[in-house]
């Protein structure tokens, strides 16, 4: 087929893209800052939290924001056990962020490796991995969570593990699809022709070219992981009390919607802002890196 392809608008489109990117980046900048602020808060929790997040004051329960009880000032009020909401919120950032980040990293890594393996190896490996992904996707995550907690005991690590175990198929599917298309690119076939071994092909030729799509999925998943952790907390299967996580705080606070709105409102707002910013950043990345993927 003859193909002297005239792409006259192409270079122009590229520059327009660059400008759009800068303009777009400006639009998400506040959210990048919010995310960064949360990360900072999480890292510096012991320094910035005014009080011990677990220290209870049973006679100072459910105090509204700005109350002073027993000589202690509670900027955001106290929760149902008289703990300082602000301090718990600050420490909660640690848990919520690290659960999300760790589970995204774990499931992302596992899913990407498996998806790439399936996409490159095809045949049996492909069938086994992708059917396994189907199986995992059709088992309710709650069931897995309960089983994991029952077998391995509860706790932070298991929450992360449950999330990683249930979410890897998402990445695997994307990595698989992307690998299939990249593996068909002439440069990959050429590398093979030149005698490159599979690890080299995966690492040098495939991974760098699919990582954009994976990162986009990861940003979406990040928000979902935060929500999932909250859901597990609601069902009593999240991180163990008294460790604060925003999800657990929100889940506790919902019982006090009418009597002590602040218990739920503050973690709810934080959760909302966190997910919103990561999603917006992700959407931006998607438009930039990967206009074709879901």
């Amino acid at each position: 087929m003859s193909a002297t392809i005239d792409k006259s608008p192409a270079p122009a489109r590229r520059f327009a893209g660059l400008r759009r990117e800068i303009r777009g980046m400006r639009a998400v900048m506040p959210f990048v800052l919010i995310f960064a602020a949360f990360v900072l808060l999480a890292l510096l929790a012991p320094l910035v939290a005014p009080l011990d997040p677990n220290s209870q004051n049973l006679l100072g329960r459910l105090k509204p924001p700005g109350t002073t009880a027993r000589g202690i000032f509670y900027l955001l009020g106290t929760d149902n056990l008289g703990r300082d909401l602000l301090s718990r919120l600050i420490y909660g950032a640690r848990i919520s962020l690290s659960v999300a980040i760790l589970s995204v990293v774990l499931s992302g890594t596992a899913g990407t490796i498996l998806g790439m393996a399936a996409g490159l190896a095809r045949g049996w490996t492909e069938t086994v991995i992708m059917r396994l992904a189907d199986i995992v996707l059709s088992v309710p995550a709650v069931l897995l969570a309960i089983i994991m907690v029952a077998v391995l005991g509860p706790g932070f690590a298991n929450v992360v593990l449950v999330l990683a175990l249930t979410r890897w198929p998402r990445y695997a599917r994307v990595a698989y699809g992307q690998t299939l298309s990249v593996a068909n690119m002439p440069y990959v076939r050429l590398a093979r022709f030149m005698g490159a071994k599979t690890p080299r092909i995966l690492l040098i030729h495939i991974l760098p070219n699919i990582i954009g799509a994976i990162i986009v999925v990861a940003t979406l998943e990040f928000g979902l992981m935060v929500l999932f952790e909250a859901g597990l907390s609601f069902l009593g299967l999240g991180v163990q009390p008294p460790t604060p996580s925003w999800g657990a705080m929100l889940s506790t606070g919902r019982a006090y919607v009418a009597t002590a709105w602040w218990i739920a409102a503050f973690p709810g707002a934080c959760l909302f802002l966190l997910i919103l910013s990561v999603n917006l950043i992700g959407d931006h990345l998607r438009d930039r890196l990967d206009p074709k993927s879901r």
Partner: protein
């Protein structure tokens, strides 16, 4: 061939689902004015009174059936189906049956039905979950229409208390339709008769206008399953429910400001306690257990968290139960003494203690307990699992039983035997304690009909519990219902929900 068959069956299953879908959505009926709506936590698992053991089923079926004997609002055992009873020998008790009771199908209730009900529940083949409560009974015989004799395998002081839980089922119906069909459409002699069970949604009862005793105030009653407490409160506030169960003190506080709702509370026979694994280091050290006893601020919990709904106790036997002793005082809250005891133990106290719990327990209390123990210098980790996992561990081998746990015990029999024996006798499933002296006291007390001796034994046992801190009693639990302001009803210690003891104000 297999695939063909699989496809066929898949299709038939699917069409079945679809048909059910259409029927299901069409069958929802509007509520009549005379309908009283109760929000339970879960739907009843079964309405055969002898085939299950859970509160949500009990709330419902107890209104369909009459029991052999029952308790009045003051907690005393009073006649119901049996009008009188007497101990004819240490192992035999004879009951006189009322003659004016009719089942809801019009058939009179006779001594034969009573004997049948007892024989049915103690038959191992029937596999009643309640078997353990009645397995001291070896047989029940009706000598005429009005007399039933119950025989036990030894002197059994708790017999009467256990029989408050025995519902009388109609022999002729059960024999005729079988256990399964009876479960789906139960017939009893109680103040309400079974109307409909929309599985997963609600159970509807209808007033039995021929009831021999106090008749119910509502024509129909609907029991719904609403698992989330916040939702139950919302239902109550929105007026879509008239009575909701299982609230905690904070949820009750929410009702104080509501114009149309109120909280109804009663102290129950339940005692909240901190379970301790006394057979495993470091808690095999009595000093450490005493430190725990001194380190927990029970007043703080009751006043601070429970809003005063509850009563601090020093013994595991409830004030509402036989065997309660007025003379046993709780440990005082003394964190300094606790710390001193821990310092005395030294390094052993530094081990991490797993505090097992499940979502059904009040997490506010669990977290408060954990924090208090942390403050006196112990390392306590909360270990929350779902209930089944928790129970498996709690009733498992001594070694895997939790170091610490929080429980609220009730035997529904209001007798120290049902409380102390399962919790403290060496071989009992729940026990994490092993002491020959305790075993002797408990075994003697359960095999004599001499009430004074029993009372003395239990007092001694309670002193032993306190001294040895075999477990740590915390407070007597209050049960909290949310109800419409118009409802007049006094909940009782045995957590029963007798519709015919309620009344509706106004209009």
């Amino acid at each position: 061939m297999t695939s063909k068959r699989a496809r066929l069956t898949v299709r038939s299953v699917l069409s079945g689902f679809l048909a059910a879908a259409l029927l299901g959505s069409a069958a929802t009926a509007a509520m009549a004015k005379e309908t009283f709506t109760v929000d339970l936590v879960n739907e009843p698992s079964s309405l055969d009174p002898q085939k299950q053991w859970n509160p949500d089923s009990y709330y419902v079926y107890r209104n369909i059936f009459d029991n052999l004997v029952t308790r009045n609002d003051a907690g005393e055992i009073v006649p119901q189906v049996a009008s009188a009873w007497k101990q004819v020998s240490p192992t035999e008790m004879q009951f006189t049956i009322r003659g004016d009771i009719k089942f809801q199908d019009g058939t009179p209730l006779t001594a034969k039905d009573v004997a049948f009900s007892i024989q049915r529940i103690i038959d191992p083949a029937f596999a009643s979950p309640q078997l353990g409560q009645f397995n001291k009974i070896t047989k029940a015989e009706a000598s005429d229409d009005k007399t039933v004799t119950v025989t036990t395998d030894g002197p059994y002081p708790v017999l009467l208390a256990q029989l408050t839980k025995l519902s009388i089922v109609p022999e002729h119906v059960v024999e005729k339709v079988g256990d399964d069909a009876f479960n789906l459409k139960p017939v009893g002699s109680g103040p309400y008769s079974f109307e409909a069970w929309q599985r997963g949604v609600s159970v509807t009862l209808k007033r039995n206008d021929d009831y021999w005793g106090d008749k119910g105030p509502f024509e129909t009653v609907t029991f719904r399953a609403v698992p989330d407490a916040s939702t139950r409160v919302a239902d109550l506030q929105a007026g879509t429910a008239d009575l909701v169960v299982s609230l905690d003190s904070d949820q009750a506080a929410q009702l104080q400001t509501a114009p149309n709702a109120q909280a109804l509370t009663a102290l129950t026979e339940r005692i909240a306690y901190l379970g301790i694994n006394t057979g495993k280091p470091p808690l095999d050290d009595k000093r450490l257990r005493q430190a725990i006893a001194y380190g927990i601020d029970r007043e703080g919990i009751v006043e601070g968290i429970l809003g005063g709904e509850g009563k601090v106790v020093g013994q595991i036997v409830s004030p509402a139960a036989f065997g309660w002793s007025d003379s046993i005082e709780p440990y005082p809250y003394d964190p300094e003494k606790a710390k001193a005891l821990i310092a005395e133990v030294g390094d052993g106290a530094k081990a991490e203690l797993q505090f097992a719990t499940a979502p059904v327990f009040d997490q506010r209390i669990v977290q408060a307990l954990q924090q208090m123990l942390t403050e006196i210098g112990l390392k306590v980790e909360i270990n929350m699992t779902d209930m089944a996992t928790y129970l498996k561990a709690a009733q498992g081998p001594r070694d895997s039983q939790p170091m610490l746990s929080f429980g609220r015990w009730s035997c529904s029999c209001q007798d120290a035997d049902g409380i102390m024996y399962p919790l403290l006798e060496s071989d009992s499933a729940w026990s994490r304690y092993s002491n020959p002296e305790m075993d002797k006291l408990l075994n003697e007390a359960r095999s004599t009909l001499d009430e004074d001796k029993r009372r003395a034994d239990y007092e001694k046992a309670s002193e032993l519990v306190k001294d040895d801190v075999s477990l740590l009693p915390l407070y007597q639990v209050a049960i909290i219902y949310g109800a419409s302001k118009k409802l007049d009803w006094q909940p009782t210690a045995n957590e029963s929900l007798f519709l015919n003891r309620m009344s509706w104000q106004g209009e």
